[in-house]
């Protein structure tokens, strides 16, 4: 099976500062990787995904992430955050093959709080 570890449960940051949300994963097979954002009392919105190809992936709202296979990491970054980025962020993996094909495995989430 697959598992995801989000290393920080809470990340406070001031507006216009850069931010990195860390994600490590474990899997015995190749995986797809995702970052989702969840605003209060809402569902999940896809920020970006890594399927194959370039290891640097750009998503919506100025976010990007880098896939590092050797370190089994998929950290999310933004060079300058806004107050509107305050939300819960989830890293997720999905196996490309095997009995767990198509299932998303999520980390526990990182609460990003942007202060003025």
């Amino acid at each position: 099976a697959q598992s995801v570890t989000q290393l920080d449960s809470q990340v406070p940051v001031f507006e216009e500062a850069p931010v990195e949300l860390r994600c490590n994963y474990s899997s015995s097979v190749s995986v797809y990787l995702f970052w989702y954002v969840q605003y209060p009392n809402q569902g999940l919105q896809l920020l970006l995904k890594y399927l194959s190809g370039s290891t640097l992936v750009k998503g919506i709202n100025g976010f990007e992430a880098e896939f590092n296979k050797s370190q089994t990491s998929f950290h999310l970054r933004k060079p300058s955050v806004h107050i509107s980025d305050t939300a819960e962020y989830f890293c997720a993996v999905s196996a490309l093959r095997g009995s767990t094909l198509g299932r998303l495995y999520f980390g526990r989430g990182t609460q990003l709080t942007v202060w003025p």
Partner: protein, 112 residues
């Protein structure tokens, strides 16, 4: 384009009751998955259906069941509700069983 829709938005039940949650996928999507998100945690996989067949089941007791209809909509049923079943239940749809999943707004279930 309409996204994934779920009903009801909120639900309050008492222990021992049963509940049915509903999900309509994005038009053209044939796969529906269900996730449980307990407060303060990430979503956990419950079921996946593709072309009306169960393709996967997570580590949940038999009190949880689901089905997918010919129009690809889906129901999640939970019997003999426990306090620990209180959670946000998320439905996601995708065009195939392994493609990108799009999530609905969820149903907030509270068990008293």
């Amino acid at each position: 384009d309409a996204g994934v829709t779920q009903s009801p938005t909120h639900l309050i039940k008492t222990r021992g009751q049963h509940v049915t949650l509903r999900c309509s996928p994005i038009s053209g999507h044939k796969s529906v998955s269900w996730y449980q998100q307990v407060l303060g945690q990430g979503p956990q996989f419950i079921f996946q259906y593709y072309e009306k067949e169960e393709r996967g089941r997570g580590n949940f007791p038999d009190r949880f069941s689901a089905r997918q209809f010919p129009n690809y909509s889906s129901e999640l049923n939970v019997n003999a509700l426990l306090l620990g079943d209180s959670a946000l239940y998320l439905c996601a749809s995708s065009s195939t069983e392994y493609n990108e999943q799009f999530f609905g707004p969820g149903t907030r279930l509270t068990v008293l």
